[in-house]
Amino acid sequence: MNLLQVKHLSVQLEDRSVVEDLSFELAAGERISVLGPNGAGKTVLLKALLNLLPYRGEIVWASGVRIGYVPQKIDADTHLPLTFTDLFHAKCRTLRITLNQAGDIANTVGLTPQILKTPVGHLSGGQFQRGLIGFSLIGNPNVLLMDEPTASVDEPGEEHIYELINRLQTQHNLASIMVSHDLSFVFRYATKVLCLNRQQVCFGSPTEALSANVLTKLYGESVGFYDHHHHE
């Protein structure tokens, strides 16, 4: 059964067409990676799926879908006297669920008591990202929408975050749509890939959809040499 069905989705921002005529679907447990150059409309796509932007076309979520969202980057004000404990509790209260979840989730994503006491503006990139992933898990989502969840994390940390996401998805059988620049991640974890350069360039399993031709179309000549047959 499809959790999400998108048909002929187009988004215009201030008279500029950012996304044109996308059609794809997300089935239970499936992991879609969204690839594309800067300005290709990847973030806009996620926001449209979250109904944060006006769009044309059809976005149909199955009933019973609960979405967890991990945004690309939040410029947390270093002066905010807020911790992830405050934010987890605020989300629980807003969703009208008990606070019990917050502690377990903090454990799962590796937020130590020390991190939970630290104001969000003082956390490292990796700690902050774990916090955001934890935040997205509150309310027991069955679909995660993630916008470059490792954008503000250094390279060794990046690997940990990907492993964490992979573990969570396997444990909770979460479907996901993730924007990522990291092709090795795409080949390791994604079951489908959606290539986007304002228009839809490809959609399918990574090995089939990501031909050299498609990559050239996405990123230009210089990136055309990724040899995806040597993954594993």
Partner: protein, 269 residues
Amino acid sequence: MRTLMTPSEIYSTILVLLTALAAGLVGSFTLMKRMSLAGDVVSHIALPGLGLALLFGFNPLAGAGAALFIGTLLIWHLQKSATLTTEVAIGVIFTAALAIGTVLTPSDDLIEALFGGFQSLNAIWFIAGLAAVSLIIGFILAVRHKLILSLFSPELAAATGVNVSRLNLYFLLIFSLTVLLGVRFLGALLVGALIIVPAAIGRQLTHTLTAFLVTSSIASVMSVALGLWISRVYPHFTVGHVTLNLALGPAIIGVATLLFLLSLLRKKI
């Protein structure tokens, strides 16, 4: 120096202290939302309302309330498009309001309209004031979780199901109601400071949310209590040949500023 207070003075004293409590809470969220300056200038638009009301002889609070309501809708609309033009527009409109208000306000009442003074209250206004304070504090406590999400990230708040734009409007209306409660005591020019300065003190002294909210409220109530006491005991004082007036508004904001300067000396607890 008078020692006994009439009932109407007692009403006023209680109400202005409760207003301070509300201002501390509202100010904390205003500061976290980075709206301190925009919030401050909103209060200036109360002046033309006060002026027109005094000019035509109807209730000054009704005039200030109407002007603030219009100002709130205006600033809400302007803030939706956060650009440089927005900031310029806010600066221009609200300073212009101050200028127009100064022209409109009868000169006998001008100083009080700008800088406030102690007001006597009858029982009806007292009860109306209590209702307004309850509404402000109740609102902040009821929606604090949504406010926290929206000031951390409007996008995450919206994805969690918060109607961010509506929440902002409600918050601005509550802000304006707080301004309205304080405007006759502190004046259109200074009432914004009662909302901003105590929150700045709270921010300086604390680093957790609860401690911040509590400290801001205490700082606000302390400033008003001390300001009330000072302006009552020393309404005038003489320096050399010059006699200075210590009106209520300047006394309160003077105390608040002093507390803020003291808070700078202290490391965060």
